[in-house]
Subunit: 673 residues, 2 copies
């Protein structure tokens, strides 16, 4: 094992300088011969070689010890550390007598402990530190890649990818050199991620074969991820028994179908013993599923769960099921209701190794949505919440949009009111999943500052209680080690509020989906208004919004438990930022903020575009500064120019659209075209 | 020469039965050994072999003589026929003493005379017929193919093609068997078409090479068209000297650029001695052009004209030049003005063999546009009017939309008022050009009834004074020889008013462009409203339409001569069907028809959708009838189902959009969603 360093690719939050504090020390590693433990040893050796420290041999003095609790030669300093058991992935961190101690029950915990020391930097070696046990709050912290082997002529290689091609496949085959995959695994491990699904949930013909005759490619990827404690998962098509197995059906209750899956899965585990499991998008946007056979989604998921169970695998079964051939004239059907309608009756029927993967909102990764009521409705089901690190609807990595504040709100949302369990509590045994924003771009994420979203995802998945602003500062400190307080303030100023800025200049008050159809970038207020996609705003000359109340609308509010079923039902109590998601209101309706809906639209759009310009102005101050690499400076600058242009386009289109509809002039007389 | 008959491809208006009257006669052909004369002989022999007539040898009795006036052995019957000289492409037709006579000065005229006799059927052989001279009104009657060699992943092989792939190229190479191309040439010749441009005006890298190393493919196509009197033209890129010639510039005044074009064109004529010339889209929608060198379009066109002149070729230079990166917020720029602004100052500067090719309307082939004022503004320039036979904006060959009534209006439009010259008179020396609707579909045109548009184009280009309804009946009679009066009435009922029906259920009152961006099918009222394409309707809660007046708008009305400059300027006098093209009016504005704009929108959309349903009902009566082939019946039926669905979608979206904006209910209380 050698630590992967890739030339010409930005080191993200693991530049050599990030290892200076640790690498300058004498470090003792006491662990087994496992692959992950070897990784820890290699990391320590790499850091020490670079920064003048030393790998301590047993008996030699040391400043830091990284040890498995099971190690027979635990020194006194380590034995003295007491705390709750770290468990499978956790670690104990302490410091006394000039020695920093990391103790873990398993090699994975040792690896996470190592990166915790890296994050702390010099602080890890200062003063005393009482023993703290760090354990991940969520069992699985997973990134889904929507990578394809082939390149779609319009969608590109990575569906909803904005960072170039896939880091896994190129020209129809696996990259010959997978060092970059290992470097990616290293970046993810440093944030706490422990699972990656390598291919698109829309499984096309070529990618379907990753399950069978192209399984070797998955195995090669698994070998890279394994070193950093990450298990590989695979998106499979529900129609696999037909398209790969030559069967006439994929009916989940047919014996030969079940046998095919069992056999196929067994072969997967023969090749990849620590294979994570399957990801399935079924009966959704044209993908095949159990509905074709009159079966429900528990039947479908359990069939795969049964095939995986003997090997310790799980199936992630997506709850993103709705009618995408809706008639816009049909006002009764409500796409927001679909997942709850489909899945809540199935609670209790899913196997223990079937995880229902639920998008955080009921529609589709909008800038602002209420939290999906499915998450509250299935106490007897393992649930994973799905986020998008890739900025499909949040600026496509051309806009700065730091998403951790949104995710923090999602994870902290309490369906049953204050003091009750939060989303993060409900999903501990399932986990947190997100669509990755990484591609073969030299900065990994297209927009260099979008790296912060990838970083924050892992950190929040490990500990949903972390403060997004603190995560941001942590990321800044690691990524820009030459920057001081000034740079931190600049970046913090640019990024911390950028999600709310983006919300301000795009679709107002939770209404969502005012984007250009297809690619989803830029404004088009009516772009989806008369389409089959079920994403409408119903704006007319008098008002705007979707009536999802029980009293007069689609009844969606009734999918929430109290108190939210009442709060959302009430036009007066519904939070401003979600008003148009739940209610159709007149333009002159007065928000809780005291302003009218129409004036709010104008005010936020003028403000949002101004804030985008301010973000650019902050960055411009760094020009020529030696704390930021000139190429990175230029890349960000170019993206900011586009963000400012786009924000003005959003501002003007949204304002003009609603001015033309409402006829209400801006109270401040600003230009509306 | 053998007459091309292609299995498995519909014979369109030349089924064997169409030749019955002629083929049952004794026919004498007196002509030279030219290729076109050989075609006439072959056609006569083919028809007579099929229908029991005979090719008469000199001295034998005959019912029909087809003779060149120069023929030394003209019989008395032919010598007795007197009339104005037929000229290069015309013919004299007469009948007396039981003999029908066709006399022509040139073989092409003989061919057109032959097809005239075919069209007449038995009537050609009844009673006496005083001598009539038939000459084409327009010098060039041309179809432009927007065919590519390659297949675009989204646009397909034929840009704006709705009839499958190209009949010229397949899998990146010329079709091995070009019989179908000859059959196409034959169909066109029967309508009077004498020129075909074989490739897309957007010239991509592969197709650019048709001018040089792939010229052999053009020659092979020319050989097929030549037999039927059709000259082949080629779309070329203005950047050819750079992309093909390796020069550093395409500046039209540079000597080496001019020399490159001269040399290249000379080689073209060495290979294809009757080559027609070039078609150029320059400085338009991203195509290169003279603007890059600070030169104007006369400079550009004349350079190519000079290269072509020694060989008798022409350049068709398209006037479709506008800023396609407009800002929707800019209310001063008016795309409708662009062609006139660019080209009218250049009048008199174009060479005699440069033909300025002007789309019939100022925007882009909409269902209803005013006639382009460029056509009136360039008396010292040869002009060709460009139409679309392909139904880009008129239903994409999924809707029945017989376009000849529109074209007839275009050709008959009198810029200078009643009694003055019409468009057809202004363009005699230039011609009429249209984008073809033909592909490798078994019915040629996707929708079998769309064949009528191809037929009518040729007939109107030959004689713009023909009645579109009569052309339709002529087409019905030829195409459905087994059908009697009942079928004629049914098809006439379905087709004759179908353009106006289409207009009724789509964009109202000339406003245009309320289509889905990109593919241009189906409604999307705001689809182009905030785009850079310059196609806006400015609908707000009070009114709709584009103010193009001189008094308060963009001044476009001033591009017309009187009386239209006044008529269009006046809200009261402007024809209803163009009102929103020229004026922004309140929804309650009363039209000349006596109804309000908003009620007109509702009424026409309900009526249009009903008419679409009636068109389908008419066709349904033919089910099982043996006058229509069952496969053709089914194809049309399937398209009509889509037309009815689409018409309802148009009706509902347009009505809902304007109801939401205006708040005015339908006076008749019909359902608006």
């Amino acid at each position: 094992m050698t630590v992967p360093h890739v030339d010409d690719v930005h080191p993200a939050w693991l530049p050599p300088e990030a290892f200076r504090a640790l690498g300058a020390r004498r470090v003792l590693v006491l662990a087994d011969a496992s692959e992950v433990a070897e990784t820890v040893r290699a990391e320590v050796a790499d850091a020490c070689a670079r920064h003048g420290g030393a790998v301590a041999a047993p008996g030699e003095p040391y400043d830091l010890v990284l040890a498995l609790t099971s190690d027979g030669s635990l020194p006194a300093a380590a034995q003295a550390v007491k705390g709750p058991e770290p468990g499978a992935e956790g670690f104990l961190l302490a410091r006394s007598g000039g020695v920093t101690v990391v103790l873990a029950d398993q090699p994975a915990g040792l690896l996470y402990g190592f990166f915790a020391v890296v994050r702390l930097g010099e602080a890890a070696f200062e003063g005393d530190r009482p023993a703290e046990t760090h354990r991940p709050a969520l069992a699985r912290r997973m990134l889904d890649h929507w990578d394809n082997i082939g390149v779609h002529p319009v969608m590109g290689q990575v569906e909803r990818g904005y960072s170039g091609g896939s880091i896994f496949w190129h020209d129809g085959v696996l990259h010959e050199d997978l060092t970059r995959v290992r470097a990616y695994a290293r970046l993810l491990a440093a944030t706490g991620v422990n699972a990656v699904a390598v291919n698109n949930v829309n499984v096309h013909a070529t990618e379907a074969r990753l399950l069978t005759d192209r399984l070797g490619e998955v195995a090669a990827l698994a070998a890279e991820f394994r070193a950093y404690g990450i298990r590989v998962h695979l998106s499979v098509t529900f129609a696999s028994p037909i398209v790969l197995g030559g069967l006439e059906t994929a009916n989940p209750v047919e014996e030969d179908v079940r046998a095919w899956w069992a056999r196929t899965t067994e072969r997967v585990y023969e090749t990849i013993p620590d294979f994570g499991g399957y990801v399935v998008k079924a009966d959704s946007e044209g993908q095949p599923g159990p509905f074709a056979y009159g079966r429900d989604h528990a039947d479908g998921a359990n069939m795969l769960a049964d095939a995986l169970a003997p090997h310790g695998g799980v199936v992630h079964w997506r709850a993103f099921v709705y009618n995408h051939r809706q008639d816009w004239r049909d006002r009764k059907t409500d796409r927001a209701r679909a997942a709850h309608d489909h899945f809540s009756p199935l609670d209790g029927r899913f196997r223990d190794n079937a995880i229902l993967q639920v998008k955080y909102g009921p529609i589709d990764f909008q800038t602002r949505e209420p939290i999906s009521p499915v998450i509250a409705a299935m106490p007897a089901t393992k649930l994973a919440v799905e986020l998008q690190v890739t900025q499909e609807y949040t600026g496509q990595q051309r806009h700065v949009c730091y998403l951790a504040p949104m995710w923090s709100e999602v994870l902290g949302f309490r369906f049953w009111g204050p003091g009750e369990r939060a989303v993060a509590d409900v999903t501990t045994s399932g986990g947190l999943v997100a669509v990755s924003n990484v591609g073969d771009d030299p900065y990994w994420t297209g927009h260099p500052l979008a790296q912060a979203n990838l970083y924050a995802f892992g950190r929040l998945a490990w500990n949903p209680g972390l403060d997004p602003a603190a995560i941001l500062d942590e990321w800044i400190g690691l990524t820009f080690p030459k920057g001081g307080e000034g740079l931190r303030e600049t970046l913090h100023g640019m990024m911390d509020g950028s999600w709310r800025t983006y919300e301000r200049y795009t679709a107002p008050l939770g209404v969502g989906f005012m984007v250009r159809p297809g690619h989803h970038y830029g404004p088009d207020v009516d772009g989806y208004e008369y389409t089959p996609w079920g994403t409408y705003h119903f704006a007319d000359r008098d008002g705007v919004g979707v009536d999802r109340t029980r009293s007069t609308g689609t009844g969606y509010t009734g999918q929430y438990p109290a108190p939210w079923s009442q709060v959302y039902e009430s036009r007066a109590e519904c939070p401003d930022e979600l008003l148009l998601f739940f209610h159709h209101v007149p333009y002159e309706h007065v928000l809780q903020s005291g302003t009218t809906v129409i004036q709010h639209i104008y005010d936020t759009h003028f403000a949002g575009a101004e804030e985008a310009a301010e973000i650019r102005a902050l960055w411009a101050k760094l020009e020529g500064d030696d704390v930021v690499d000139p190429a990175l400076y230029a890349r960000v600058r170019e993206r900011l120019d586009e963000q400012v242009r786009s924000a003005e386009e959003w501002r003007d289109q949204i304002n003009t659209y609603f001015f033309r509809k409402s006829g209400v002039p801006d109270a401040h007389g600003r230009t509306i075209h």
